[in-house]
């Protein structure tokens, strides 16, 4: 299913629990027009504004964003504003001006990345951070060793479980195993 960048942004934000605010955005009696507006969940004060540079004029958009920021300042709201920009990047001075009042996240849709990962990467700061479970990879490493060493002699494999008692124990087991192969000299030494 082919979707626009904006739709993809909306889907992504909704999927991680941001609440979409029906347009237009009204703050202290003033209204502002954006492609989409999201609010953070109960643990976050985020206000996310989504704009599509294909539709929105960059100056108009700047004014809108500055308007939102100023209005929130006036009512002493502490909500941090994030502006997500789909489409071509605005010009440098506009982008800089926008950055002064909010976090700007342009979507680099024109790059080689597919649109999905471009959106994901650009919105990353807004998304929860998933920490891969490192210990999953290490589950029972000795079992791997056991499996791989099936072709070795049984007495050599008996050394594997000794590892739980430490390197010295392994060394002792190795010595014992090896010395068992030399009974003649051992017998001579006993004499």
């Amino acid at each position: 299913m082919s979707t626009t960048t904006t739709e993809r942004i909306v889907q992504t934000l909704e999927s991680v629990g941001y609440k979409r605010v029906p347009p237009p955005l009204a703050i202290a009696g003033l209204t502002f027009d954006f492609q989409a507006v999201f609010l953070g969940d109960e643990r976050s004060l985020d206000l996310i504004l989504v704009a599509d540079m294909a539709f929105d004029d960059q100056r108009q958009l700047l004014r809108n964003v500055e308007g939102v920021a100023r209005t929130l300042d006036v009512i002493r709201s502490k909500r941090p504003i994030t502006l997500v920009l789909a489409g071509p990047k605005p010009s440098g001075d506009v982008l800089e001006a926008m950055s002064r009042v909010c976090r700007v996240l342009p979507i680099n849709s024109a790059k080689t990345e597919d649109i999905g990962s471009a959106v994901r990467n650009s919105l990353a700061v807004l998304l929860p951070l998933e920490i891969p479970n490192a210990s999953a990879a290490t589950a029972e490493p000795m079992k791997h060793v056991e499996e791989r060493s099936s072709e070795l002699d049984a007495d050599v494999r008996e050394v594997i479980p000794v590892a739980q008692h430490g390197a010295n124990a392994v060394q002792r087991a190795l010595h014992k195993l090896l010395l068992q192969q030399l009974p003649t000299i051992a017998k001579e030494n006993e004499r």
């Binding site: 703050i27 004060l45 002699d153 090896l178």
Partner: protein, 811 residues
């Protein structure tokens, strides 16, 4: 969730002068201050109180303890309180005095290390973080990354297996660790040498045996036997000790001696029996007998007469007929001389005795006359004179006058002399007379002794004086003996002649008997030849064959036979020796072969054991390889599936427009060591270069910060706190906004208490806004550090609590 850190109080610590007391009881603490106001000092103080050390300072200055106290103060103090439900303790207080820490740090060792490495990111550390984790800093066994991996994965058992089997990887290591292995290898080398030596010795023994056998074969051939398989050793030994030749040789030797004796006898017979030996002997016998008879009639009779005469005097003289005239005469002469000397002695002694007696008579006469005279002299002296003189002397002192004390008369009437002098004269005369009397008496005694001695000698001599008849008889006898002596001396020459004649006659008679005897032997000599002929197996001697030729024939035959037998006896004894030698060589060869087989057996056994040993060693090596492979796979998996993903995720958050992302790449390595290289990847895939070459300074900083966070988030959060000192040095505004969002995620989604120090006011404000409490119980503490004109430190803090935001209620 409850915050770990509750409060901190710092006095005179590093750049902080005076005391700062700051509450920390909030999920997020933002610290702001211009450079030099003590942000880093505050965070270092926190690290010191928690861990007892400040590794970030140590890295740049090993003597950092010397500089912990503010330069104008003597002591520094740090006091930190924490949530006692998380840690066992509620607070700790540390005093720093002259580079000495007084007081215990809050965290136990493992947590302390965790805090140092995973919770606290000092500014200085961040600058070098990539270097540190690239492992360029140290070549030691545990690089920072290895340590991280170990912390993260807990691959202790794999490590134990790999480390425990370390020795199996190298034979030299095993040799030094396991003495029996080295011993066995040494032993094998020795055995190889021994086997070589035994083989060459066996070769020598083989040759020696062959030589001995050849010698035996030679001896057997000499004895007329064939050396082959049918001959057993005992059979050969029987041949060697067969005594028949020896016996025959002894008999032959006896024969040879007999033949030799016969030859000798024959030759002696021949010398004696040459010419007119017998008639000569007979003539000599007759002549000597005649001469002897003539002598006997004349000189012999004379001698016998003399001896008859001599026997009257000397009854025990030998008979001249029996002992020989010379000897008998010699003895008779000696007897005569001896008797003659005796007679002369007796006569001489008697003459001496007569002379001594006449001398004695003369001496007696003189002595008697002297005695008579001495008697007369003695009679003329008053006998008691001496005694009287003594008595008169006793009177002397009593004479005081001329009156005699004896008779009372006056002496002056009769003499002019005084009485006293008269008496003295009388005494003197008496004493003199007495002395002479004694002398005479002694003389008389001596004369009497001499007289009696002379009389005794005279009596003795008178007894030994010869009787007249006897003396005459002796004189006659002496004259007779003188005559006899003369006669005898005249007969000495005829005596000696007689003696010679007797001997000559006797020798001639003996010789004649001998000659007669031998000539009878020669007559029967050839009778003994038949014995030799039988013994030697020769034909009988012909009558016309001379005795010399027969005997020569016997001699040659017996010598040939003896030589032949001697040869055989020698051959047998030589065979005996050779057999012994052969047996010895064979035994030696067998012994060597036995030793060889023992050595070979041992070598095979030891080789098998070494082969088993090395099989196990190789398997242990294989096991090490497997363990390393598993470890390296796990590590790679962790890096690829976990650390790199997380790092990338964090990095992209902070630098969304950067087309490169940093990553660790694990080269495929057999050793399985964790050695990672830093790389960048294109976000769209494909490799870039090292981050230091590919990223801007700002994004390099971001890479370091995100690496720290990725490392922190990857491991089990033993302490849920993050302290970051001035994370943004040159981040542009985009990064600042992204960082703020990230910190919020860490705090709210991942429950990390965070202390963030920043020097940029803008960032501080921005972060304050972004981290503004968003729900009930959420809190933010902001701290402003500053210094007054005197250089004293001040801290203004604000505890911001949640207030519902109503701005968008309408929305």
């Amino acid at each position: 969730m409850s915050a770990l850190l509750k409060s901190i109080s710092v006095t005179d610590f590093r750049s902080i002068r005076g005391t700062l007391s700051i509450p920390l009881d909030a999920p997020v603490i933002l610290v702001h201050g211009q450079n030099g106001t003590g942000k880093t000092s505050l965070l270092s103080a926190l690290e010191l109180a928690l861990t007892g050390k400040v590794p970030s300072l140590y890295r740049s200055d090993e003597d950092y303890l010397d500089h912990l106290v503010h330069k104008e103060a003597v002591d520094a103090h740090v006091r930190v309180t924490v949530d006692p439900s998380i840690l066992a303790r509620a607070d700790c207080s540390i005093r720093v005095h002259r580079a000495q820490l007084i007081g215990d740090a809050l965290l136990p060792a493992p947590l302390s290390a965790f805090f140092n490495e995973r919770c606290y990111l000092a500014q200085s550390t961040m600058n070098r973080l990539l270097e540190i984790y690239e492992g360029k800093e140290s070549r030691s066994a545990d690089s920072a990354l290895t340590k991280f991996v170990k912390d993260l994965l807990g691959l202790d058992q794999l490590d134990a297996l790999v480390n425990g089997l370390f020795e199996a990887g190298d034979q030299r290591r095993l040799k030094s660790a396991l003495a029996p292995y080295k011993l066995t290898l040494d032993r094998l080398a020795e055995l190889k040498l021994q086997i070589n030596r035994l083989n060459s010795e066996i070769k020598i023994a083989d040759a020696d045996t062959t030589t001995a056998e050849q010698r035996v074969a030679g001896e057997l051939t000499r004895l007329g036997y064939q050396f082959n398989q049918d001959l057993t050793l005992s059979g050969m030994q029987d041949i060697a000790v067969d005594p028949s030749d020896e016996v025959a040789l002894q008999q032959t030797a006896l024969l040879r001696r007999n033949v030799g004796a016969a030859l000798e006898q024959w030759s002696s017979l021949q010398t004696i029996l040459t010419g007119s030996a017998l008639s000569d002997a007979e003539f000599t016998g007759t002549e000597t007998a005649n001469l002897l008879a003539a002598w006997r009639q004349k000189e012999g009779a004379e001698i016998n007469r003399v001896f008859v005469a001599l026997r009257n005097t000397f009854s025990d003289l030998p008979d001249p007929e029996l002992v020989g005239p010379a000897k008998a005469m010699n003895e008779a002469s000696q007897a005569v001389v001896k008797e003659l000397r005796r007679c002369e002695d007796l006569l001489n002694r008697d003459v001496n005795t007569s002379k001594t007696l006449s001398d004695l008579d003369e001496r007696l006469g003189v002595t008697r006359a002297r005695l008579l005279s001495l008697e007369q002299q003695i009679a003329g002296h008053f006998e008691g004179g001496g005694q009287l003189a003594q008595s008169l002397s006793a009177l002397l002192p009593h004479i005081k006058s001329e009156e005699c004390p004896v008779c009372g008369r006056d002496y002056s009437e009769i003499s002019d002399q005084s009485l006293q002098s008269h008496l003295s004269q009388t005494i003197a005369s008496l004493v003199e007379s007495s002395g002479r009397l004694q002398a005479f008496v002694r003389e008389r005694t001596e004369a009497i002794r001499l007289q009696s001695q002379a009389e005794r000698e005279k009596a003795e001599l008178g007894g030994s004086q010869l009787d007249v008849d006897v003396r005459n008889s002796l004189s006659r006898r002496k004259a007779d003996l003188d005559e006899l002596q003369t006669t005898l001396s005249n007969l000495v020459v005829p005596g000696v002649e007689g003696e010679r004649l007797i001997l000559a006659a006797s020798n001639a008679a003996k010789h004649l008997a001998d000659v007669r005897n031998r000539s009878s032997q020669a007559a029967t000599f050839r009778h003994g030849f038949s014995e030799f002929e039988v013994a030697l197996g020769l034909h009988a001697a012909q009558e016309n064959e001379s005795t010399d030729l027969v005997l020569a024939r016997f001699k040659a035959t017996v010598e040939d036979r003896e030589k032949y037998l001697t040869d055989r006896v020698t051959a047998r004894s030589s065979l005996n020796r050779s057999l012994k030698d052969m047996t010895l060589q064979k035994a030696r060869r067998e012994r060597l072969k036995g030793e060889l087989s023992v050595a070979e057996g041992l070598r095979v056994r030891l080789s098998d054991e070494i082969s088993d040993f090395e099989t196990k060693m190789l398997q242990a090596r294989e096991l090490t390889k497997i363990a390393r492979l598993v470890r390296s796979e796990i590590v790679r998996k962790v890096f690829n599936d976990s650390l790199n993903i997380l790092w990338r995720e964090l990095f992209i958050r902070l630098a969304p427009s950067e087309s490169f992302v940093p990553a660790f790449v694990l080269p495929e390595k057999e050793s399985g060591e964790v050695e990672a290289e830093l790389e960048t990847h294109y976000r769209s895939g494909g490799r870039g270069g090292n981050p230091r070459a590919m990223l801007s300074a700002g994004n390099l900083n971001t890479a370091a910060l995100t690496l720290f966070l990725a490392l922190h988030l990857s491991v089990d959060p033993k302490l849920r706190c993050l302290i970051v000192d001035d994370p943004v040095q040159s981040m542009d505004e985009v990064h600042i906004a992204q960082l703020a969002a990230l910190l919020r995620v860490l705090s709210r989604q991942h429950d990390r208490q965070m202390v963030i120090a920043v020097h940029e006011k803008q960032l501080f404000d921005y972060l304050s806004l972004e981290l503004f409490p968003a729900f009930e119980g959420d809190r933010l503490i902001t701290v402003e550090l500053s210094k007054n004109a005197e250089g004293e430190s001040f801290a203004q803090h604000q505890i911001i609590t949640y207030k519902r935001d109503t701005a968008l209620d309408a929305a």
